[in-house]
Symmetry: C2
Subunit: 197 residues, 2 copies
Amino acid sequence: MGRRPTWNEPELLRSVMAVFRRKGFAHTSVRDLEEATGLHPGSLYKAYGNKEGLFTAALAAYNEQVAARRVRTHLDETEPPLRGLHTFFVSTFDSGEEANPGCLLTNTAVEAPALAGVGRDGVAAGLELIEAGFRRLLERAVTAGDLAASTPTDQRAAELLAFYQGVLVLVRFGTPPARLAGIVAHALPALLTQEAH
Amino acid sequence: MGRRPTWNEPELLRSVMAVFRRKGFAHTSVRDLEEATGLHPGSLYKAYGNKEGLFTAALAAYNEQVAARRVRTHLDETEPPLRGLHTFFVSTFDSGEEANPGCLLTNTAVEAPALAGVGRDGVAAGLELIEAGFRRLLERAVTAGDLAASTPTDQRAAELLAFYQGVLVLVRFGTPPARLAGIVAHALPALLTQEAH
DNA sequence: TGTTTTGTTGAGCAGTCGTTCAACAAAGGG
DNA sequence: CCCTTTGTTGAACGACTGCTCAACAAAACA
């Protein structure tokens, strides 16, 4: 058949993902990606076609690995459900003290409209992944009796997604974790206990 | 003294602002700005030093004109206060049906960390402008008896700012206005009626 | 009316961008 | 072993980037 790649795809995409997450699509040059991956442009272009292809692959990897994993850990596997919801939010800003790059989905949702829809589908898929996680968690909470069924789950999940995006904007901008913790700790119960009006 | 500028600054900054808002800092070329303003590069650089200076000026103009004006109209001059809060949020997505460029502050908050703090101060000032508007409105609502004083105003204002940023991410990504209206209509009362837990 | 001052012009610079490709290296099939 | 297939290399390309500046134009002074 011929020679096989000298690199490992998941690992490569993890490096690429990290650069895009920190610098965004526009500010990331192919030279940056060469440095991050240790590969030369010919190899990258042979495997992914162009910079946009590499970004699309990295975004898909972000969804399947980073986002889906966090949804599973906090929204699906933490008890009680409402505690998992809280740790899901807190996990976005309680990491080390260096500059937090925020969420690749949020960053791309803001940047994508500037270019011709680069990554639009990936962002839509990622947001739906998270929103679906919210819906499953809310159903569990209602079943467990921790949450009144006064408001439809779909409605609550949509509100949580919006609030989540807002928190991630502040995370990326550099808002101190202590301040974010205060916001999340109070707003989360508030968003859940309201009856329709 | 010598010749005077042939252009009018507020109008020029309005054009520049529109381009940056739609395309972001990185995706906007100096040629784009020439086209938008009708000026040639020499004039732009004489007046603003470089692309970053032009961006800083446009962001300041956005704060002083667009943001401050909306804060005044909805948060300070609409009665009853809680109705003003609602229209403040709705006004971000009820405009025409073309692609909504979102908020220059939100977009810049996400893009800024990628470059060396371009516009960081302007974003911080703009966010504070909005948060202060929330605080004044909440105080008015408490005084009018429309809102229980169970939660400190500062706390509520910070939560509203976070939620506001999230709505603007979804606005920019292209979420349908009807969906955003549903989110805002229910989440806003929810964020305000919660007692501390 | 000179003279000075300041805004305007636009061709063009040096650098970076995303991308290509001919030459080469390594692996499997025969 | 040779041959085919496929991955790797990195110099180099044209396009575009932010930006400069010498020449020019017009307004305010004297």
